[in-house]
Amino acid sequence: MVKEGEIIMANYHVVIIGGGGTGAALAHDLALRGVRVTVVERGEVTSGTTGRHHGLLHSGARYAVKDQESAKECIQENMILRKIAPGSFELNDGLFVAITEEDLAYYDDFMEGCAVCGIPTRTLTREEALRLEPNLNPEVKLAVQVPDGTMDAMRLVLRFFATAKHNGAVIKPFTEVISLNMEGKTVTGVHVRDHTTGKEYDIGADIVVNAAGPWAEKIARMAGVDVPVQPSPGVLVAVWGRYNNMVINRLHRSGDGDIIVPQRELSIIGTSSWVVDDPDQLEVPEEHIQLMYEKGAEMIPAIKHAKMRAAWSAARPLIGSRGATTGRELSRTFKCFDHADEGVEGFVTITGGKATTARAMAETTADVVVRKLGLDAPCRTREVVLLPHTAYYT
């Protein structure tokens, strides 16, 4: 789909390390700008962190008070995703429910924060809330309706990959980066092992983008630079049964187990937060599983006896230096690092962010990449409707 006049751009080759949501959105963005793209991912696409999230199409309301930069990013991207990926979301909206007096005390700050961040809200009385969601804790005092939704974490990302692929991008799963090829302090490509054949080979690139999520620091060190990424896992529990059609959130500052996301015929209760050094060593502490049930039951009592389908953890890639204790104190926004600032050419890192903001992360990164390549190519991902996820395989 490279148009006449764009031929020059197609001679530039960008290699993206990391086949998660960020890598997918970036491959899509760059392919639309006429850049030749190869994505290398050590496992199945989205098998790192992206595939594991609870599937929330974020309204940003959770961050409306304490992390307004992230909240604004979320609501803007929420609206864009509805436009570019129609038919991919359970669009039942969400409720922030006040169960205790303490929750009620948070209401004013919450409403002010949502207004500042541009998040539409509607306040509901206890009776109205129970008519919408009869399984709510009858102690509910009030609820605030926000534009939350549910997505299939992997299939939304596959739409980005599918569109990128059909625009010429090459996606290589089971292809692990062993080292970066460098000439002096310039990154010239990647040395990979294809795990489906056992063979190693090189892929040359004008720019290598590190989109490896919580593994971003591991990749960055291969180029001799450092990025402040703090892997911060959390536990999620999926139970059998759909107790709510709307996403149910606790009306309070961030805490453990304060969201229940409906997904097909399951309910996903999340989440907790701690920090680790190695995102490949993730525990699922038993106390956290119990905590999810407990906290979930405060919002929907019936969940206490729901049969467990799965309990797992996933490592968020949070921006922040070491020294954080739980991860909840770090911002959920994203950041793009051009390592030319540290003397390393041909290498860019994008990290942080949330599943809902992957497109915005890609736009920022692609802007940096084409600027480095000396090209004038604007971003088009806000308008282009994505192909269906099945197109990734056909």
């Binding site: 199945e44 098998s47 595939g51 059609n245 097909r264 099945t390 395989y393 056909t394």
Partner: protein, 240 residues
């Protein structure tokens, strides 16, 4: 937490190998460990070349489908200790070309499945007594089918006949017939009313047996037959 050492006998194959073989790994498991957890531990600590698909870890993406002790399951929700065997045999799904180890090529499946034009979102049948929030047209949810391929691996007819549309695609067509959402149910019914369509099934019902998401493809195939038969009889009577 009790811990136990369990042997995993894992199918191995790389492109270019003349034949597959099995490797045996020992993994320490506890009461919560799933087969997927064990495979990840093997990849991380014992053999970084082991390839397997996974993503959501909660039976939603459908990518971790494989055969464990001969049965089709999603590895992420298969508890190792509950299997009850000291050795666990892990093999790829059947009836799809093997890419490497436990990874199969789902392209052939998707080429057929995508022709059913199944929209991802359907009306939610849950909590019918509840009101719909203002601004929301109706309660919706994701379709149940995870596209995992367990049904295709288990079906004896899919095994013997590469042209058979298969349970997943037929179940998807039935869903479109039940709830068209702008797609063309007539064209789809004509498509499945064929020798390789819903009539090819021999009612082994293995598809419904192994489905991890309550799709009941066997029931869907019989429903398609019922619908087509009703139409044919109505047509005959209408002409008589």
């Amino acid at each position: 937490m009790t811990e136990k050492n369990v042997q995993f006998k894992v199918f191995r194959y790389k492109q270019g190998d003349t034949a597959p073989h099995y490797d045996t790994f020992t993994v320490t498991v506890n009461e919560r460990t799933t087969v997927l957890d064990a495979l990840e531990a093997i990849r991380r600590d014992q053999d970084g070349t082991l390839t397997f698909r996974h993503s959501c870890h909660h039976a939603s993406c459908g990518t971790c489908g494989m055969r464990v002790n001969g049965k089709e399951v999603l590895a992420c929700v298969t508890n190792v200790m509950e299997l009850g065997t000291p050795e666990v045999v892990v093999e790829p799904l059947q009836n799809a070309p093997i890419i490497s180890d436990l990874v199969v090529d789902m392209g052939g499946f998707y080429e057929t499945f995508s022709q059913a034009h199944l929209p991802l979102i359907r009306e939610s049948e849950y909590l019918p007594e509840s009101d719909v929030a203002e601004g929301v047209p109706f309660h919706m949810r994701l379709e149940s089918c995870l596209e995992c391929g367990l049904c295709l691996s288990a079906c004896p007819v899919v095994g013997t006949d590469p042209e058979y549309l298969g349970p997943a695609t037929l179940a998807a067509v039935w869903r479109v017939v039940q709830e068209p959402r702008g797609e063309d149910p007539e064209a789809l019914l004509a498509w499945v009313d064929s020798e390789q369509g819903c009539w090819r099934c021999h009612a082994a019902m293995e598809c419904t047996e192994v489905c991890p998401s309550n799709v009941d493809p066997g029931g869907a195939i019989m429903a398609l037959r019922g619908e087509l038969t009703r139409r044919k009889i109505g047509h005959l009577l209408g002409q008589g």
